[in-house]
Subunit: 430 residues, 2 copies
Amino acid sequence: MTIQEKARAMKKISPHTANTDIETRNAALNAISGAVTAHRDEIERANKEDIAAAEENGIPAPVLKRLRFGDEKIRDVLDGISQLIRLEDPVGKIQLRRQLDEGLILERETVPIGVIGIIFEARPDAMVQVSSLCLKSGNCSILKGGSEARRTNRALFDIIYEAAVSAGMPDGFMMLAETHDDIDQLLKCDDSVDLLIPRGSNAFVRYIMDNTKIPVMGHADGICHVYVDRDADIDMAVKIIIDAKTQYPAACNAAETVLIHRDIADGLLPKLGEAFRTAGVELRGTPEVRERTECAEAAEEDFSTEYLDFIISAKLVDDIDEAIDHINTYGSHHTDSIITNDDAAAEHFMNLVDSAGVYRNCSTRFADGFRYGFGAEVGISTGKIHARGPVGLEGLVTYKYKLYGSGQIVGDYVSGARQFHFKDLQEERK
Amino acid sequence: MTIQEKARAMKKISPHTANTDIETRNAALNAISGAVTAHRDEIERANKEDIAAAEENGIPAPVLKRLRFGDEKIRDVLDGISQLIRLEDPVGKIQLRRQLDEGLILERETVPIGVIGIIFEARPDAMVQVSSLCLKSGNCSILKGGSEARRTNRALFDIIYEAAVSAGMPDGFMMLAETHDDIDQLLKCDDSVDLLIPRGSNAFVRYIMDNTKIPVMGHADGICHVYVDRDADIDMAVKIIIDAKTQYPAACNAAETVLIHRDIADGLLPKLGEAFRTAGVELRGTPEVRERTECAEAAEEDFSTEYLDFIISAKLVDDIDEAIDHINTYGSHHTDSIITNDDAAAEHFMNLVDSAGVYRNCSTRFADGFRYGFGAEVGISTGKIHARGPVGLEGLVTYKYKLYGSGQIVGDYVSGARQFHFKDLQEERK
């Protein structure tokens, strides 16, 4: 069967997956946890083969590090599953219960999205996380991990799938895609896949977004800013900027540009420049920045570049509105922070910056599902439709309207024989 | 300026439109209501010209009827605006307020989507409705109405825009697109338009969906079903089916197919066939249906046809699961109703049918924003991402995360110097 035929078959299974109760879904997560523990040797064997092949192919060290799935990472994913089991069921929440007329009750209830395709990096821990998030939220999933992790992913998938189905999940509720050609086939499954979540490089995510009719959730760029307002604590600003840039520069929520109010530039820049030098960060500044600290010259394109490295650009602004305008123009609507002691300035910035996350006096690196207390995340969305920012379980559900009648017809309400009497009833789980 | 340049300019205005307070937005709606009343003559003059041109071009009677914008329709749109003013502000709702750690507070707040493009039929009342929904929800809008209503729309747009801006809405927060070529330009504005809502024929909506990278909300088909279960009230079933088919056959929520449990077919079909004949509905049935009542023969393609007319298809099913499977396969995930006295059967159907609306013992024609008590709707979505079913104000907002810190950096939480202490705080409007 082609991926398209398999996806169509999965589409037929998806209402049954959606209809599983939370006890079954949690039991499946428990079974997965047990099975991963029991088959540890098998997983480690597959992972060693992936690593050997990667080393042979001269894969860079950071990729190798992410590929390695040792004791510590296995413990982390098992912890993650335990946390996920404890999270409230995102499915079956009544968001609205309204009497439209006597004996005519409308309910809006959360339901799984259906079939979700997730394409992720060569990180075996991601395989466990995304599959268990989809399972907990009652979704069918088509999973495609980075090819360097091929053997580990196959071992993990088989273990996870068998454990989940033994615990009562429907046959065929999960599927592993394994080749790059599978991705191109998956992109054509707009009749059966409800949502695609691509993770990976900017170019890869953009390719997915540009080549499918399926709704896509995620982000291509992460061009995050820290803006230091005129009235700011300089030491706090330096500490936050260094964290936002250096704590994990390869992350999408790392800062790429610092904007500095002209009035605070003389006080801030010498200290900030020194801190960058100490941290091994290359600063690229406009001429005005370079007058105040020694650094490389920023070109126009620096301000629309996601370095993902120990490089940062900087420029001065005349006022907060210039900073906001710069961020809305050059940014990627991901996460942007203002450092200020001024409440009104903070609110102005947070209201007018058009990003998924707008922060005051803290690091952009907090933009993360775990740090938001979501237990886990399936990705971070810079789109505005459906889910925005870090996407946890809530982003994997939609809703349906249920209308309970007793013979009502619209003709009676149009003719005036009956009138609507809207009355909101208590919203509660059934 | 091209539409693309204008849309880019609007994108820059959109954070300011989003940041208007509800008093300004309601004052603008009030001003619009006053201006429409004051400029009634002008509007009627433009409408008469549109009608004269339409008559000259031999436009069909139903289109002419929708095009006419007389006293009654003007009163209706003014009533609609009054209702909209009374609706709660959809913007600025705090959906989540969580302490991540001492002095680090996360809020999730509803915000307008930004720039919305709406393409709608040649109905001047739609012009007023969609523009006021976008305004109330703090969105910028690009409006393109059916070309037959060109003069009326231009008159209405000028009146609405001037009233709204005089009341404090930002210059350029609304824009009228007037030519068919404008639509093709609009489809290319994926750098500045956040959402497209196309309304109109199946072919037109599908064209929009297939030719843009902008997220699209709406529906192409409306293939709605009524399924009569084995244990159902036959008179109720007949009454509901006749309403669902005939009350307004051109609507997307009209029923196109009746599915009948084999066990109730002998009792139901002769009565139903008679009711169809009386109502002037052409029934197209499978051989089993034709054995029980006189009707035309249904071809396979009948079950995937949206007639939008006094035609309906019918077939028997062996059990409820066959009905569910038929609906999930041939339907358009819009609205489907079960007629049954059996609670368990109703829940089974409503859980497994994968549609925006799943009904029990009432007409599919209730799928409508007004009938759901939303005050108004901008359209009905059969997609699962973002909004589903009738879309009112709530579907025109998204959210942003605001994080209020006091110098926090992620490094401290990774090193273990600090720990997260998640604590949900009261969710309330600020």
